[in-house]
Symmetry: C2
Subunit: 403 residues, 2 copies
Amino acid sequence: RINGQRLWDSLMEMGEIGGTEKGGCNRLAGTDLDKQARDLFCAWCEATGCEIKVDKFGNIFAKRPGINNELPSVATGSHLDTQPTGGKFDGVFGVLSGVEVLRTLHENNITTPTPIEVSVWTNEEGSRFQPAMQGSGVYVGRFDLQQELDKTDVNGLRLGDELARIGYLGEEELGSRNIGAFFEAHIEQGPILEDEEKRIGVVRLGQGIRWYNVEIQGQESHSGTTPMHLRKDAMVATGKIVAEIESLANRYDNGLGTVGFMQVYPNSRNTIPGNVKFSADLRNPNPDVLATMHEEFVAYCDAVAKERNLEITVDNFWYFAPVEFNASDDVKAATENLGYSHMDIYAGAGHDACYMADLVPAGMIFTPCENGISHNEIEYSSPEQCEDGANVLLHTMLTASKR
Amino acid sequence: RINGQRLWDSLMEMGEIGGTEKGGCNRLAGTDLDKQARDLFCAWCEATGCEIKVDKFGNIFAKRPGINNELPSVATGSHLDTQPTGGKFDGVFGVLSGVEVLRTLHENNITTPTPIEVSVWTNEEGSRFQPAMQGSGVYVGRFDLQQELDKTDVNGLRLGDELARIGYLGEEELGSRNIGAFFEAHIEQGPILEDEEKRIGVVRLGQGIRWYNVEIQGQESHSGTTPMHLRKDAMVATGKIVAEIESLANRYDNGLGTVGFMQVYPNSRNTIPGNVKFSADLRNPNPDVLATMHEEFVAYCDAVAKERNLEITVDNFWYFAPVEFNASDDVKAATENLGYSHMDIYAGAGHDACYMADLVPAGMIFTPCENGISHNEIEYSSPEQCEDGANVLLHTMLTASKR
Ligand SMILES: NC(=O)NCCC(=O)O
Ligand SMILES: NC(=O)NCCC(=O)O
């Protein structure tokens, strides 16, 4: 068994880096705070006898030798970056559960058949730079390394430069680790396990995600002198589309639709906005339904453009197809061996394990979180819930290492 | 007659201060560029023998002595600040027409019966600091001096500090000038004069304006894991209200409604926005209709708050009641004497003359502008149109000074 108190203390210590007044975290990818979190992770892993490597996209790998070091590692990992108003658990819980696995093996002098590896993936959140799960996506070859290093934030800062600045632009080639299986522990971020009173969610599927950049080009004009019928108001068109995204999501089982990001130009109260840029995020576990949602969304935007004589560009720059986790049964077996209540579940959020599933057998372990709230400073999982998840991770990895 | 070429050259010279690539101006109130524009104005006025005074809100007054300097001045003026994507004419045309009046009197050695005064009012645009017509509003006593000096921009910079920083926090008491009548020349900023092929608009009324700060408080949550029915999405509520403002304006004759400014928090694409702040601008020439629009707007916001379990605060922090210009006949007489075609018109925008009408007989002279477009970098009035307006201003002021 892992040490629940030690895991909790590490979660709290890590949570101080970028800690917010409301008890959450603001630790965006590639910032000084991200560096501090990475440094702390590396120090903790080195203390358990790991060798640390960083790849050319800033992904970190801490490897603990096994009996046969030619064998592929059994790996776990998640991310240390957070939302601007994020919690202390999203991502961090998975990484520190991995650290707790290392510590448990170390203090018990256990040498596993294969090496054990814990990774920290760059920019999983997709908040400062897009898309999400960027580090694991580049690692598995879904995205082009150079193109992703060249991505910029809203202030025009380049991710590659930021990684170099914080000392985490490494030498390892992408995809070059000898990994045999990947497991990720994560808080559920939704309300289902809590509602169903289950200790563990065995994640069977990661749902589909489509991310969009929408840009509406109208014409700036005076709010007090421009008759309604002569306007090319980019903001009203935006309002219509935002409202429609909700309706669209509600029309489909398990449909989700969100506009989280917006920039209004020139953002002056008596100038009719000439340009609005905003994000759209559509999700569904069923790829056919998501495809239909996509078509309806694009058609709606086109209709608004035509009706209002505006230019609207809808750039669906990221499509993440639903992924099935083919090592879920390992997670389920470990959970049952530990005697924890569990249920099958699907992941609403994207996770690094979803991309790792491209390369190796992969599985995910979900733990409940309070009221299902995540991407919020009040996000909370109890010490016991965290301990449960880390124990399942330990036993899943041990079993996989023995195979 | 004024010198049209000289007026045009001055407009172009002033337009270089904060000049944008698209030929417009970005010269927000209280910035270094505002200082440069003010300095140039002062230099031009001093060259015509004026004495310059600055009051405690940064309003500038250039006074040209008359035969009897105990008599109240006949004054004109407007503003030099612009929208972030503003034009070269809005406000500036009125100020420089005043300068052109001074120059014309000076070069012709005309001493008017009363003094002649040209003013530059602080922050007429209301873009960086609110409300609009702030300088003239403080001057006439509509707003409290200290309260307005304490207003901050989106970055928290205080207007009083900014005025001090650029050297335009003066000594004169507010409202202390000995002014007998006020006239303002301005581009129409709308399409009517052009459509009706009239050279001059005799402004009879300034329409009513209500400005709002709306804040919606929901709850941040994950875009991928939060079911639609559990969301407290501040952005969807915003979208509904933005769309409704258009419908509301369309329900009333001459109704206008605009959302020009918005701030989304935390502005991350996979976090459901927990807080959105935005502006609303409602206008109508009929105060009863504007009151009804106000009630419907507030009721709609309340209904959205109730239906969606959100906190919505609607702060109608500025109400500008429609104002009648009681010296319009002076403008009309001067226009007719010059033989220019004209029509009565109402002002869709607010103007400093609207507040000056509280204290003294006031009138406004409108000139056409291309396609009625203003608050846009492509705003344009021809040299001839500008010349017409300045000539009407000169003759209106001369007549008033003789009375
Ligand atoms: N786990 C998590 O919050 N990932 C962020 C990517 C997403 O938006 O789903
Ligand atoms: N003239 C002008 O554009 N004034 C700005 C104030 C308003 O919004 O009407």
